[in-house]
């Protein structure tokens, strides 16, 4: 027994030393914006400091890919940033906005992407809260920790804290292949995946040549998502930020859309039938680059007509 326990401990010890060294190396890479890694936009979001914008776009992949910031800037004559990120629900959106403001950034308006998927993050996304996306694990920001405490039952969130276990569990972000890709793409951080000037998504694939059909979905809002939606509104209010909600185009249909209050109050939902052309989508819930252009123009015109955005004196203009 003694020999067995000794050998097992030696193996475990060696494994822990190896993993800790590897995790330190990963941390270094993740924090260095020279390397494009699968999760780079998260670190780019968190690295924004002391900047000023007229507006920012907040939401999931459907926010990330449905508004072209350069085009929208030119239509409404303002300066914006796209903080949308794949798989983000209201929980992640709240952290993003909170840390963005905490880092000394300022913004006048938030274009918040709201839709049935973000109200059902448990079923829409692979994880209800992407805790693993917030590396490094041994230096967790207080804001993220607070959300973890509010959000995840005690037994579920414990692996987040021992850094080693977290790296082990959420290893998809630090697999050797991912790290190899990151090293290979050194210096290409701003030309792959997204534009690190304004957060615009860079589409690298052409629209798919296939018939895309949406599903019919029954919406069952999750109380957790509603809670963080309201927290975003409260946070914006505290900071005098105007929130304009919008819904990105989708080919899915929703049988009980009108019965959900938050959805009924969305500021902008496209009524243009051209936007529901499957040729403008890369899959049922995401527009392709042509769909994005059309939707951005539409949304820009809506902002001009309903919110008189061109005439609006922004933070930046006040400064000038």
């Amino acid at each position: 027994m003694k020999n067995f326990l000794l050998k097992t401990s030696i193996y475990l010890g060696a494994l822990i030393v190896f993993l800790l060294s590897y995790a330190l190396f990963c941390d270094y890479l993740f924090k260095d914006n020279n390397y494009y890694l699968g999760n780079s936009k998260r670190y780019w979001q968190l690295s924004q400091k002391d900047k000023e914008f007229d507006y920012l776009v907040l939401g999931s992949s459907r926010a990330y890919g449905s508004l072209d910031i350069s085009l929208l800037d030119s239509i409404i004559d303002k300066k914006g940033i796209n903080l949308g990120l794949n798989g983000s629900g209201f929980t992640e959106n709240f952290i993003t906005l909170k840390l963005f403001l905490k880092n000394g950034n300022k913004v006048d308006s938030v274009f918040l992407q709201v839709d049935p998927y973000s109200l059902m993050s448990d079923s829409s996304f692979s994880n209800s809260f992407h805790s693993y996306a917030y590396l490094p694990y041994w230096d967790v920001d207080k804001e993220i920790e607070n959300v973890l405490h509010e959000n995840i039952p005690l037994l579920k969130d414990w692996p987040f804290y021992p850094a080693l276990l977290s790296y082990f569990i959420y290893n998809n972000y630090y697999s050797p292949y991912n790290i190899y890709k990151g090293l290979k793409n050194k210096g290409e951080f701003c030309s792959k995946g997204f534009d690190c000037y304004n957060g615009n998504k860079i589409f690298d694939t052409l629209p798919k040549d296939q018939n895309i059909i949406g599903d019919e979905i029954f919406i069952v809002p999750d109380s957790k998502d509603i809670f963080y939606y309201n927290k975003i509104l409260d946070l914006a209010k505290e900071n005098n930020i105007e929130v304009i909600s919008y819904m990105a185009p989708t080919l899915d249909t929703f049988s009980n859309f009108e019965t959900v209050n938050i959805l009924k109050n969305i500021s902008y939902i496209s009524s243009n039938s051209k936007i529901w052309d499957p040729n403008l989508f890369s899959d049922a819930t995401h527009v392709n680059r042509f769909g994005r252009d059309l939707f951005t123009i539409e949304f820009g015109q809506f902002l001009l007509a309903e919110f008189n955005f061109k005439e609006k004196i922004s933070l930046l203009q006040k400064k000038k």
């Binding site: 027994m1 994880n127 082990f168 290893n171 998809n172 697999s175 296939q210």
Partner: protein, 477 residues
């Protein structure tokens, strides 16, 4: 509790320490700990169904004790039937009630009658098919005087609920496992090391092979109408490795865990995808279930004795029942029947026992003939798995039809699935090299063995899927 969860990573060392350091002086204490730990292990999933295991344990315990007290054939037969009816009654209600009801309703509606009965929202208790068969083996063996009934309730409860193999096997025969609860157990270094090796290999099969294959197999099977022929072929192959990695991985972890506590469980898989014919495949796949059906159904039915008609009938019965054991769906029944069709020519030509030894026993590589035989068997198995995986018979048929459309084949899938194909290749190499043993770490050369450990550990760390750990497929059976 899942083997591939952190909960189990904490649970196992705690039970191990209590077992060998606190209760090591008392066999009764160790058995009590095993029973208690097993109930915690099972209750972690859903404590409400603990009462079901307890009830089943009590029934079979008292049936066993009563069988030991009486020689009267009629009374013994009644006792046996009590056990069979209670155990199969539970299984039938939880697993098959809705299936029979729906099929009766369909049959009656065809005849012009409408049955007014509603399906029930029944949750299938995890592992019910496994522990039901295990306890049945006990009462049948006691009834046939092949085993002495036990009066020790704690040991019997520990045998029924033994946590390493409670929810997905191997389905142990009472004659093998139960006596081990009565022998004093001493920790042996070689057994402990062997257990750890088996756990490591099982974990690799589950979190690296099965779970990575599952990502694509699930996507491809759920969207099969939109996929090209080559992608569908790949989806079926991914599922073939998923189910093997998943189920044999579970069995390996179960066997390894049991060894850490001084128990020996039967081997459940013996490299089935290297089989040269379907008969060999079934000697190497889910061995504990195949032999259970052989001993408790096939042989009592007459086995291969009697005329050709009897052989054919018994073969179909055993394969269809085996399919039905997996689930209440026609897809499983057709899967079983298809395997019977594959098996029958071998049986009728007396070639079903021609490949008894390990393939390429004395060489590094198989001969061309062996390679061809293995490929054909693998191909037949993949087709059968399509039925097993599909939701309906129509889905399965369409899947095979679409997959046969050669004009839609392309080679892009090699690039898009290169990571999973790479992992499968490593898996096949390790399996091939270790086909004479139960795991690939039985290597005399110290350097090579540690190299093998390192490769597998690194693959588990970097390519294992842990976020929202996938349940084991066989939990649903």
């Amino acid at each position: 509790m899942l083997f591939n969860s952190l909960d189990f990573a904490i649970f196992l060392p705690i039970v191990f320490i209590l077992y060998w350091f606190v209760f090591n002086k008392s066999l009764k204490g160790q058995n009590l700990l095993v029973a208690a730990a097993s109930y915690v292990f099972y209750g972690w999933w859903d404590w409400r169904f603990l009462s079901l295991i307890l009830f089943s344990t009590l029934i079979d315990y008292f049936v066993g004790v009563s069988l030991g007290k009486t020689e009267a054939p009629t009374k013994r037969k009644i006792l046996l039937w009590v056990s069979i009816l209670v155990n199969l009654g539970f299984l039938g209600f939880f697993k098959y009630y809705n299936f029979f009801l729906d099929n009766f309703k369909s049959a009656f509606s065809i005849a012009g009658y409408e049955l007014n009965a509603n399906s029930l929202n029944i949750i299938l208790p995890v592992g019910i098919s496994f522990y039901t068969f295990q306890t049945l083996s006990y009462t049948i063996d006691v009834y046939k005087n092949r085993l002495e009934p036990t009066k020790n309730f704690i040991s019997f409860a520990a045998f029924v609920s033994f946590f390493p193999q409670l929810v997905a096997g191997p389905i142990e025969r009472a004659s093998n496992l139960l006596p081990q609860f009565f022998k004093p157990r001493k920790f042996e270094y070689s057994q402990g090391v062997d257990g750890m090796r088996q756990i490591l290999w099982g974990l690799f099969k589950k979190v690296v092979i099965a779970d990575n294959c599952a990502v694509y197999a699930n996507h491809i099977f759920e969207n099969s109408a939109d996929m090209s022929g080559s992608t569908l072929v790949l989806g079926a192959i991914f599922f073939t490795f998923q189910i093997y990695g998943d189920f044999s991985g579970y069995s390996d972890i179960a066997i390894g865990t049991a060894r850490l506590f001084g128990f020996n469980l039967m081997q459940n898989f013996a490299f089935p995808y290297f089989s040269r014919d379907i008969a060999e495949f079934w000697r190497r796949w889910h061995i504990s279930l195949s032999t259970w059906f052989r001993d408790y159904l096939y042989i009592p039915l007459g086995g291969s004795r009697g005329g050709t008609w009897m052989k054919v009938r018994n073969t179909f019965i055993i394969f269809i029942v085996s399919g039905f054991w997996h689930g209440a769906n026609w897809t499983f029944i057709v899967w079983g029947a298809l395997n019977a069709v594959y098996f029958l020519p071998l049986l009728l030509t007396n070639k079903n026992r021609q490949n008894m030894e390990v393939v390429a026993e004395d060489s590094y590589l198989p001969s061309f003939k062996e390679f061809g035989q293995m490929s054909l068997t693998f191909f037949l198995t993949v087709i059968a798995w399509v039925f097993f995986r599909s939701e309906t018979l129509k889905d399965a048929s369409l899947y095979i039809i679409y997959a046969s459309k050669l004009e839609t084949f392309d080679l892009n899938f090699i690039l898009t699935h290169s990571k999973t194909l790479f992992l499968i290749s490593i898996f096949i190499i390790f399996e091939w090299l270790s086909r004479h043993n139960q795991n690939p770490f039985i290597i005399a050369n110290d350097f090579l063995r540690k190299g093998a450990y390192s490769i597998i550990i690194l693959l588990i760390i970097f390519y294992g899927l842990y976020v929202n750990p996938n349940s084991f497929i066989y939990f649903q059976f």
